[in-house]
């Protein structure tokens, strides 16, 4: 009992130290802190926002294209609906797709890459060929074709369609890393000790790849965000009226809001949100990379 307890507290202590190191790094790095702040702000907006801000989609032509005021923080759109409420409600959808797609892609990538690297033999050969082919297919055009063919309507299916074309790069990298880890002494030791594959994969390999996986999760989320909003922007999957990409599509292609000087707030609001959220994720990703890979820091 004492032994088990000691081990857990040790682990807790290590996790605590990790977190403290993390926070210390973020505190010392203004750019990373800013990125973290932006990312959390948008996530908070997506999670809590819709409960706080009321979305009213009734059209009031007399109130169209109003400038920002206390009643409408970002003004109103082409039929007099509050822009801020649309942005807040759209955030949930945009961020859900980005994170779900990244989650799916990373999961598929880790499983496939891990399988290929760990099992080797013909399994590895087949998976590597599949990865090779997937890496050559340009992802955005095939995402367009898929999204148009399946007529997706919900965040989970669109995330899945994005993820199918986003895991290959990660899988290749994971495979390479596992192949190199397999040569290292501690894996050989584990094998000699007769610890099963399950133990080696879950307790030895995955923890060593965790930092890499986390960084790639943020990167994939960025890619998925750009791609999903792009698909919405082109009007291929217009399933939610408040999605930022759909708002951009309406502003540019459907309602001509960009030609109205007073429509500028409607055109710019979703774009600014995407840029800020993307910038936040970018800063977090590079900060995480620096935390996990101190050599990058030393270079600067």
């Amino acid at each position: 009992m004492k032994l088990i307890f000691g081990e857990t507290s040790n682990k807790l202590g290590k996790a605590y130290k990790d977190i403290i190191g993390f926070l210390r790094f973020f505190r010392g790095n203004k750019r990373a802190l800013f990125g973290l702040f932006l990312t959390l702000l948008f996530i908070l907006m997506a999670v809590i926002g819709p409960y706080v801000v009321h979305l009213d989609l009734t059209t009031r032509y007399s109130e169209r294209f109003q400038p920002p005021s206390i009643k409408h923080i970002l003004g109103t759109d082409f039929v007099g609906r509050d822009i801020f409420a649309q942005i807040v409600h759209g955030a949930r959808d945009v961020i859900a797709v980005a994170f779900l797609a990244a989650l799916f892609a990373v999961a598929i990538g880790v499983v496939m890459g891990g399988f290929a690297g760990f099992v080797s033999g013909w399994v590895d050969m087949v998976l590597t060929r599949i990865i090779d082919v997937l890496l050559v297919i340009p992802s955005f055009p095939i995402m367009m074709v898929f999204a148009a063919s399946f007529r997706v309507r919900d965040p989970i299916s669109i995330s899945f369609i994005l993820a199918i074309w986003m895991w290959a790069g990660l899988a290749r990298a994971i495979r390479a890393q596992i192949l190199s880890l397999k040569e290292r002494e501690f894996i050989e030791a584990a094998q000699l000790l007769g610890l099963g594959s399950r133990h080696i994969v879950l307790k030895e390999l995955i923890p060593n790849l965790m930092s890499y996986i986390i960084v790639n999760f943020v990167r994939t989320a960025r890619g998925a965000l750009t791609a999903s909003v792009g698909l919405m922007f082109l009007g291929i999957i217009p399933y939610s009226p408040t999605n930022w990409g759909v708002m951009m599509n309406l502003a540019l292609f459907q309602t001509g809001s960009i030609y109205v000087p007073r429509g500028l707030f409607y055109t710019l609001s979703p774009m600014l949100c995407i840029i800020l959220f993307q910038y936040g994720l970018l800063c977090v990703a590079s900060a995480l990379e620096e935390v996990f890979n101190p050599r990058l820091r030393a270079y600067e």
Binding site: R129, D132, V133, V136, I137, P138, S139, F140, P141, I142, M144, V145, F146, A148, S149, T226, V229, G230, F233, L234, G235, I236, M248, L252, F253, I258, Y259, P261, L264, T267, L268, M271, I274, I275, Q278, Y279, L281, L282, C283, S286
Partner: protein
């Protein structure tokens, strides 16, 4: 080297084949609603029964419904290999013609953008690597991360809103005005460049940031080489060392990725060309998908994939040709 080339070619071939098959079955799986309305149309205009009209419509687009799917598939593959991409449902002309008209515009804009981005980016990258600790370095880093964070279609939309809609410096859409005759004459070329300015900027603005970072990293690693120290010791002029010794060697690595960047431009062209309604391949691709024009969609998809694959292959060859280590290693 030989085996790696055969392997690459094989993968490319399999990829194109798979992509063709996937799009074929995807479009066949779908409810043929567009053919249904067309058949209704034909029934009314030609006064024939609906069944006959439907059969004819399907026959026109090479989708004879009576035949089993595998026969249709082989017929489609055969036609594609012979270079027949079918007839566009919306435009009523052959897909080959549409693509032949669209390709030059896309290649025109993409190649100028790459050229500009590469020249400006690598020049700045070399300068930054050469003269560290100037204000230029943090400025360039900030520029690179902000343009990296902004999706290219947002850059395109912002350019459109500012320079075309509000300032009216550039046209809002199209590739040239109606009052010039297409051909090799100065007014037309000038007009085409004028129309292409904003699309080119939309590609170049984010491109420069990437080139700066690649070139900076490459130049810094070259700066550590012995021959650079030797050149300094020999007392050569700074300018000469920067250009002939550092620049020329550092540019090799970024140079090989030119082709890859071209490929990714082709892949993302739909968004930028749609923003400017610029009649290149990407614009028609977006249109085809929006209109569910399957023959056009498949044709453009094939061409885009082919272009990207060709670019990747070219990148590999360039890399092998420039870097002897790759040549020997295979």
């Amino acid at each position: 080297m030989m085996t790696s080339i055969t392997k690459r070619l094989l993968v490319s071939f399999v990829t194109i084949f798979l992509a063709l098959s996937i799009t074929f079955f995807l479009t066949r799986k779908m409810p043929g609603d567009i053919f249904y309305t067309m058949a209704l149309d034909k029934m009314r205009t030609e006064g024939i029964p609906f069944d006959v009209a439907y059969e004819r419509v399907m026959a026109i687009y090479g989708m004879a419904s009576g035949e089993p799917l595998y026969k249709q598939y082989f017929a489609y593959l055969g036609n594609t290999i012979r270079g027949r991409l079918g007839t566009s449902i919306y435009y009523h002309i052959s897909v080959n013609k549409i693509i032949a008209k669209a390709i030059p515009w896309t290649v025109f804009v993409c190649s100028i953008s790459i050229f500009l981005g590469f020249i400006i980016g690598s020049a700045l990258g070399t300068v930054i690597a050469w003269k560290r600790k100037t204000i230029l370095d943090p400025l360039a880093s900030a520029y690179a991360s902000i343009t990296d964070a902004t999706p290219s279609y947002i850059i395109a939309t912002i350019l459109l809103v500012i320079f075309a809609v509000n300032l009216k410096w550039f046209p809002i859409k199209g590739a040239y005005s109606v009052d010039v005759t297409p051909g090799f004459n100065l007014p037309f070329i000038w007009n085409a460049l004028y129309h292409a300015t904003l699309p080119i900027l939309a590609y170049t603005i984010p491109g420069i940031g990437g080139w700066i970072l690649t070139m900076k990293a490459s130049a810094i690693s070259v700066l550590g080489e012995d021959y650079v120290s030797a050149a300094k010791a020999r007392g050569l002029k700074e300018r000469r060392i920067a250009i002939s010794y550092v620049g020329r060697n550092a540019i090799l690595a970024p140079f090989t990725s030119l082709a890859i960047v071209f490929g990714s431009m082709l892949g993302g062209a739909t968004l930028i060309e749609s923003v400017f309604a610029y009649p290149g391949m990407g614009f028609f691709f977006g249109k085809a998908i929006g209109l569910r024009d399957y023959p056009l969609m498949q044709g453009l998809f094939l061409l885009t994939i082919g272009g990207v694959i060709l670019a990747t292959l070219l990148a590999d060859f360039l890399y092998a040709a420039i870097d002897p280590r790759v040549r020997k290693g295979g």
